[in-house]
Symmetry: C2
Amino acid sequence: MKKLFTALSMSIAGMALPVSAQTDFQADSIFIRKIYNAALAEGKSYEWLRHLTQQVGPRLSGSDGAAKAVVYTQSVMKGEHFDRVFLQNVMVLHWVRGAKEKARIISGKQKTEVPIAALGGSIATPKGGIKAKVIEVTTFQQLRELGTEKVKGKIVFFNRPMDPTKINTFEAYAGAVEQRGAGASEAAKMGAIGSITRSMTTRLDDFPHTGSMRYAAGAPMIPAAAISTNGAELLSKALKANPETEFYFEQNCEILPDAPSHNVIGELKGTSSPGKFIAVGGHLDSWDFAQGAHDDGSGCVQSIEAVRILKALGYQPHNTLRAVMFMNEENGMRGGITYADSAKSKKELHLAAIESDHGGFSPRGFGIVGAPAQKAKIQQWTKLFIPYGIHELGPGGGGADIGPLAQQGTVLLGLMPDTQRYFDYHHAANDKFEAVSKRELELGAAAMASMLYLIDKYGLE
Amino acid sequence: MKKLFTALSMSIAGMALPVSAQTDFQADSIFIRKIYNAALAEGKSYEWLRHLTQQVGPRLSGSDGAAKAVVYTQSVMKGEHFDRVFLQNVMVLHWVRGAKEKARIISGKQKTEVPIAALGGSIATPKGGIKAKVIEVTTFQQLRELGTEKVKGKIVFFNRPMDPTKINTFEAYAGAVEQRGAGASEAAKMGAIGSITRSMTTRLDDFPHTGSMRYAAGAPMIPAAAISTNGAELLSKALKANPETEFYFEQNCEILPDAPSHNVIGELKGTSSPGKFIAVGGHLDSWDFAQGAHDDGSGCVQSIEAVRILKALGYQPHNTLRAVMFMNEENGMRGGITYADSAKSKKELHLAAIESDHGGFSPRGFGIVGAPAQKAKIQQWTKLFIPYGIHELGPGGGGADIGPLAQQGTVLLGLMPDTQRYFDYHHAANDKFEAVSKRELELGAAAMASMLYLIDKYGLE
């Protein structure tokens, strides 16, 4: 029946729907309206986020904060009487920042302190820091063309800004983030002794935005840090005025042995197909100096809220619905990988997974990764979302943590909120509870609950 | 030719466009992309807003701030070498708050200070304030049903919250704001001596949100104030615990004689039809304790920016394009009325007017007020806006200041940004520069410039 309906609908795309579908549309409209009412008038996500960000606080993988976040979200789902709440063991990468970084621009006699933050995964500088002349580049190509002669013994300063003309700021991020992720090794291959990357934001401010980096095999490991955009502007200006300008920085970070941690999972048992799953999730870890309100406390509380609302409305799911708090997204992806591996070994077939990791902003769409027919089926539901300001079902991807589920054919969906403010806060100390709008957060939770409901009700075949 | 094209397009709505239209679509796409690039990479609106909000500051009609804002925006447009920049005389309502209000809840021996703000247009309390028992109601109907016996000599407390389940917060506002605008007279008719209204926001916080109120003819004038939502919750709770709870407040506001002020207007002269106009505007006045960043500094700088960008791109308008800073929107509407009256008497035919007065948030659409064919013509341009996240051309109105132009058949358009956060700041002290996102502001300016361009190029016949 479902297959017939899909084929029929696709052949008449854009025309009137058959009577049975119209009936469903009405029932679905009414149910989705109830979901939104529950989120906006009796929502719990905002107060959960307040606790997670202000009481638990920063929660980098392996830290006490991360452990507390596991306990807290577990207790929230138990408190909501989910059918089953459990922890999944995950060995996480364990990197610590150590004492706060120091950095200054030295131009002749002038010394100017600037805000930097070691990149996640970076090594420390030698004790006392390093000081060297600076080579400013905007591309790897430009760096290579300079030749080792000019780069050797220096600090490479990657200063290509995110392109402000991209409407979707994630595209701007994608166009600049290689400097953070791979810059240090590119610089090291040319003989550099350190690497400084302009923070990944279009704003001009004093917050260094950290993020993960990786050392390429075979390249010497050199210390790598992010500098605030104002700091980057200053450094660039200083270099233009005086090419002999030096940069000094000291950082004390350390890569520790992998540590035990957990994904946190809460379930509503399916009534007809309890062995099939639909997951909705966000990641529980954050960077160490950030409350991780948008990234990704929002996604966590929205995921719990999506399942809570369906439960509160008395919805009896066909499949088992799971809220998943993934651990270690920021600097290891171990939670997502472990979750998919476990699902595979336990033969837990996941029809779909929905991730929220683009911030707690006004929802505008869902990215979809799946077969064309599955995508088309979801896109038929667009009309149900338009009253809630969601017009875009399709563009964009699923999400980092649910990505590994693709191996079992799971359809991946990513909540796509308005992207304009995300990088104002991303991986920075201002990603605080106050940066999240209650209504925007709640609308995201309601959108996720609605999508969860539709996929559970209609399947994706 | 234009008429033929419109008729043709409407008859084949949803199908492929004729070749000529496709060519235009391409050219328009390219030009609109240039507009957005100019706004996002070289925009000036954000720095103008910084100055207007932080250097000029609050600018209630008749105040020094308002006069400074006139001078500042005039100088900005002159600095951009608009073809003509001029002031239009407007006599504005002149209300002043005087010394800061005092208010407390008195329940037995317990006295609790709460934040209130006199409503614009209200009279003062007698010196020393007033103190009385409190009648809490949520509707006018409920108030009337109580009868004068129960209301006489008391303070009426209007405590109907904005409905959080409305997706468009302006609908929630529309459903609650009568309490602020007309509550005092409704209460006075029943013999009340004062009126306190819950602030118009869905948030729970400590900011009283002011706004205009009007005394009904024939009703006694009693002092009226807004109380913060946290204060309203406290008062309601106190009344439930002890119906004998009293409320005390003192306010020192004053209605002064009308004062001279100005609309500020900048023009780009039309090349083929200089006697026809398209206006784009916002209002320059704000409430007295607010920087008026979203309301409506944003609309002002976006309007100037829209015209500046077209000029910077070398666009030669057919019609004369005007950026208009309206004065006295908040408590009198005199600027909008004067502007329309002047246009009428000078026979300045306005094809269209575009207003931005819904905050500097991510744009999602334009409200359109016009004949069905005009609306349909504008809606054909939707595809051009979708890459910029704008999907909704049609729903919603034009705007308060451009409203009076309707008398001459002007098509009215209102920029419709995402509404979720607007009432977090509306008419409150936290409506500050920092509450505005640079990118969101700029996207609004670009949307307005794009609409201005399309209307100028194609007309609305």
